[in-house]
């Protein structure tokens, strides 16, 4: 998947992954995709809920060796 921007939020604890995601998405255009890397397990349900409430789309997520990767399309 082509990502407009990649956000490295590894090692950051809640609420920072979402705070940074919000900021990054805010600087993007509708339809562009942000790729987020985080090691915070709680980020999964929070990011999907946040994306939904903000009108963005959680396109895909993966877990590999403790690192969670999310692709969010700006709505």
């Amino acid at each position: 998947m082509e990502s407009f921007n990649v956000l490295d939020a590894k090692g950051l604890a809640c609420p920072m992954p979402i705070v940074k995601t919000k900021k990054a998405i805010g600087e993007m255009e509708t339809g562009q995709v942000l790729e987020i890397h985080t090691t915070d397990k709680g980020a999964k349900s929070d990011l999907s809920a946040w994306a939904k409430s903000g009108g963005h789309e959680l396109v895909k997520h993966e877990e590999d060796n403790g690192v969670f990767t999310f692709w969010i399309k700006k709505g």
Binding site: A13, C14, P15, M16, I18, V19, K22, K41, G42, S45, D46, A49, W50, S53
Partner: protein
């Protein structure tokens, strides 16, 4: 205005003392619906922290000025952020130290009574998760029953009582929380007793606990008599301690009864559960004080925070003990059951010694309420 940490212990005292508290829970909605901090006079609002990043202006009008306000999140970080935002609006506010993770792990020891010859019975109340474990102390010796994985509290408590832990029991193979029994036994050299029918797959050595077996604690002969009482699991065993207390495990609670489905055998075990509750327990003295391994709702707590009731009173008041019709009973315990505990299969495997997750994974598995009962 000021921001202060409130510890899980301080919140526990507010639960016990039925104090008022206004809780601003900033976890996501599904986590909040699943499990929250309960107290008789606690009020809640739930707005996820990620919806408050632009400010708390919307929320501020819902915050009372005459009550203590506690902001709660999963681990602490987001609650501090929201507490700071509220404080900017002039609200004096607390955040929960360690978040729901700390709330899940906090344990409060409460004395439930004396035994003959100077023995004492203590209940360890894990308020956040509704788990209850026990320590019998008698004449320099102690026994621990249904210990949680927070083993230091039992080890330290025994030391403070000048007692050596010599026997550790689990009433059954737990599915809702990770047992600390094996760890305590290893650290103290105590015997670790398990019902053999629940232990067929365990990967470690244990002492088989069978019906009628009697273990003596201290020289004062506080006896712990095992009573085979299947139903929640096939091996479930209750204990009669000092002819005064009935430790009912996950078979009988104060306002509910055990569910038979957590090992996937609801249909097979419902008959056992009925026989235990309607025949075996009826042969016991009604004066025994029932001490269960869980509570489900905060109403089950006594004034001092303990959870206990006379067996005879439960025969009258507990709905699950008063269903004459066997078919109706079968329906109650096999249909429309509440959701199963989070990660209960994995928790059973940990308790069998089959998998050894790290501390963080163990915490994750145990998040949420116990859900071992049906009402």
């Amino acid at each position: 205005m000021t921001i202060q940490a409130m510890t899980a212990q301080e919140v526990t005292m507010k639960v016990f003392n039925k104090e008022e508290l206004f809780i601003v829970d900033v976890r996501n909605e599904s986590d909040f619906k699943d499990w929250k901090i309960e107290g008789e006079n606690f009020e809640h609002i739930n707005t996820p922290y990620f919806e408050l990043l632009d400010g708390v202006e919307e929320m501020i009008k819902e915050i009372p000025t005459h009550k203590e306000v506690l902001v709660v999140c999963a681990k602490e970080g987001s609650s501090v952020m929201v507490a700071e935002m509220l404080s900017d609006y002039g609200v004096d506010v607390f955040y929960l130290k360690g978040g729901m993770k700390a709330w899940s792990e906090h344990i409060e020891p409460v004395k439930v009574g004396d035994l003959d010859d100077g023995g004492e019975m203590y209940q360890f109340v894990r308020v956040g998760k509704g788990c209850l474990s026990y320590m019998v102390v008698s004449d320099g010796e102690a026994a621990v029953i249904d210990a949680t994985r927070m083993t230091d509290i039992y080890l330290d408590f025994a030391i403070s009582k000048g007692a050596k832990i010599t026997n550790v029991f689990d009433t059954h193979l737990h599915a809702d929380h990770i047992s600390g029994g094996r760890t305590i036994a290893e650290k103290t050299g105590a015997a670790y007793w398990l019902p053999p029918k629940d232990a067929t797959e365990v990967t470690f050595d244990y002492s088989p606990l069978e019906d009628g077996h009697d273990v003596v604690i201290g020289n004062t002969t506080i006896s712990i008599a095992a009573l085979y009482s299947p139903g929640h699991t096939i091996g479930s065993t209750s204990f009669v301690v000092g002819n005064k207390f009935l430790l009912s495990g996950d078979i009988l609670f104060i306002d509910s009864i055990g569910r038979p489905d957590l090992a996937g055998m609801a249909e097979d075990w419902v008959g056992d559960l009925r026989e235990t509750l309607y025949e075996r327990y009826r042969q016991l003295s009604e004066e025994l004080i029932v001490l269960p391994a869980h509570f489900m709702i905060i109403d089950e707590l006594n004034e001092d925070g303990s959870v206990s009731e006379r067996l005879g009173t439960l025969f009258t008041n507990n709905h699950g003990l008063r269903i004459e019709n066997e078919t109706e009973f079968r329906h109650l315990v096999t249909e429309n059951l509440p959701p199963q505990p989070h990660a209960f299969q994995e928790i059973r495997e940990v308790n069998m010694g089959k998998i050894s997750p790290d501390l963080e994974q163990q915490r994750e598995m145990e998040i949420g309420p116990n859900r071992c009962a049906v009402r």
